[in-house]
Symmetry: C2
Subunit: 282 residues, 2 copies
């Protein structure tokens, strides 16, 4: 079912490329346009069947019905002003940034038909070559409309995500950023610090525990610097709480307080096990 005539995806990396492929697979648009800073990305995206046409220049998105901004978060607000001068007034706009508060307040000022999105679908990999439309299937897409959001735009973009297989959940951008700082940003930051701590010569003794615990430390440094800086206050708060919890364990070890250690670890175990059976219920 053709939901749109022309969808433009700005930033055809892992997430943008996966969305493009999913749109093509589901036949949701007559045409999918890609914009990238790299010619090679556009060639690959075209060869993979993710886009019909691509360009380095934003002017190609002129008559799009839906524009999806899928660049690192710091580029989203920078591109928005330029894009607002190019697209038609009725064009729907969304972004897939991992932080929402700054982006939503800026973009809804610029675009009459904007709603913020964050599909919780990604990996430590990046780039069009790692794009996979299946990452959207049964994923959670956090949707952050505000009191000012155009209802028709909101409904159509929500429908779009649902048709790509995502479960759409509504949060305010502030709540989104706080939750994500704990469930996503802090784990990345901890993984970076952890691999940093292991002497290189010890790495050959690593087993599955270290590998899993640090998998996301292979994530892109530019993307994640952006995320941490655009969610600074929440991240700093989550680090504070994490540091306090770590210190509690450290001090129990110092005091050889086995009982306290066991009680902390039992709670942690129960919490972690609950993660295996949690299904998000909208």
């Amino acid at each position: 079912m053709k939901l749109f005539n022309k969808v433009a995806i700005v930033g055809v990396g892992l997430v943008g490329g996966s969305i493009a492929l999913a749109i093509k697979n589901k036949g949701l648009a007559k045409e999918v346009i890609g914009v990238s800073r790299h010619k090679k990305t556009l060639l690959l995206a075209k060869r993979m069947g993710a886009i019909d046409k691509g360009a380095l220049d934003l002017n190609i998105i002129r008559d799009a019905d839906l524009v999806i901004l899928a660049t690192p978060v710091s580029a989203i607000t920078k591109l928005a002003a330029k894009i607002s001068k190019i697209v038609k007034k009725e064009c729907l706009i969304t972004d897939v940034g991992s932080t929402k508060q700054a982006i939503v307040s800026e973009l809804e000022r610029i675009f009459p038909n904007y709603v913020g999105s964050h599909p919780l679908a990604g990996s430590e990999k990046r780039g069009i070559l790692n794009a996979d439309p299946r990452i959207l299937k049964d994923s959670l897409c956090i949707f952050t409309p505000t009191g000012n959001t155009n209802k028709a735009a909101q409904e159509k973009i929500a429908r779009f995500w649902s048709m790509l297989g995502a479960r759409v959940v509504y949060l305010t951008s502030g709540v989104h950023d706080r939750i994500l700082s704990f469930v996503s940003h802090l784990p990345h930051l901890v993984a970076f610090s952890l691999i940093d701590t292991v002497p290189s010569s010890y790495l050959k003794f690593a087993s599955a525990g270290l590998k899993d615990t640090t998998r996301v430390a292979a994530s892109d440094s530019e993307i994640w610097s952006d995320i941490f800086l655009s969610n600074k206050n929440n991240i700093l708060e989550s680090i504070d709480i994490f540091q306090a919890n770590l210190s509690k364990i450290k001090s129990a070890i110092q005091k050889k307080d086995k009982e306290q250690l066991i009680s902390i670890f039992k709670l942690a175990k129960r919490k972690r096990e609950s993660l295996n059976c949690l299904m998000f219920k909208v």
Copy 2:
């Protein structure tokens, strides 16, 4: 090939049970004996074909040629004294404890034919029902003989691990404990602290990043309290270094120093990626 007449495994949990199954699969012993505190474990181990006979009482190991201590680390030294009064003098003894310094110095004082072992094979699961002989295949088995170790015992136990599919690597118990504190104990401790930090009501928004980063937080609280306390000094040092690295990232976020963040994350990414292609070369 029958390497032993009778192998006794004290502690028939995930690791002990997996070793028992591997011995049976490879036909390395005429008889495999299990000792456990729980009758149910012995029944299950027998039904799974891991052991031929089992008992709650240590006296069953009287005429074993090889005894493998596979209990939590704090129980290993406690059991050793009792076992030394039961086994014959020529019996080979090893243990699979995750920390080695305290255990090796104690056990080599008690047994003439003891060598410490640590097969890096396990998971966050526990218990005989999760035993799987394949976890030993191509795993690393760290072996910690000392200047006092009986050479014949050392060679035969090393051969035993090799025949179970493990690659045997020699380290002193001190080096073992230091390396493991970084590549295994610290990641567990960080995972416990991390899941502790995430508010329960946020868990339903967790994606693969949090799940992988905290997988080992579902590990057994008793086993891990023991490990942390028996490797106290190394663990405390690795926590210190981790805390310093985390603080460095925190302060770069506070100062909005994107360049420093990128340079830290780039190094982390390269280090984590190297982990994917590292193969231990003996």
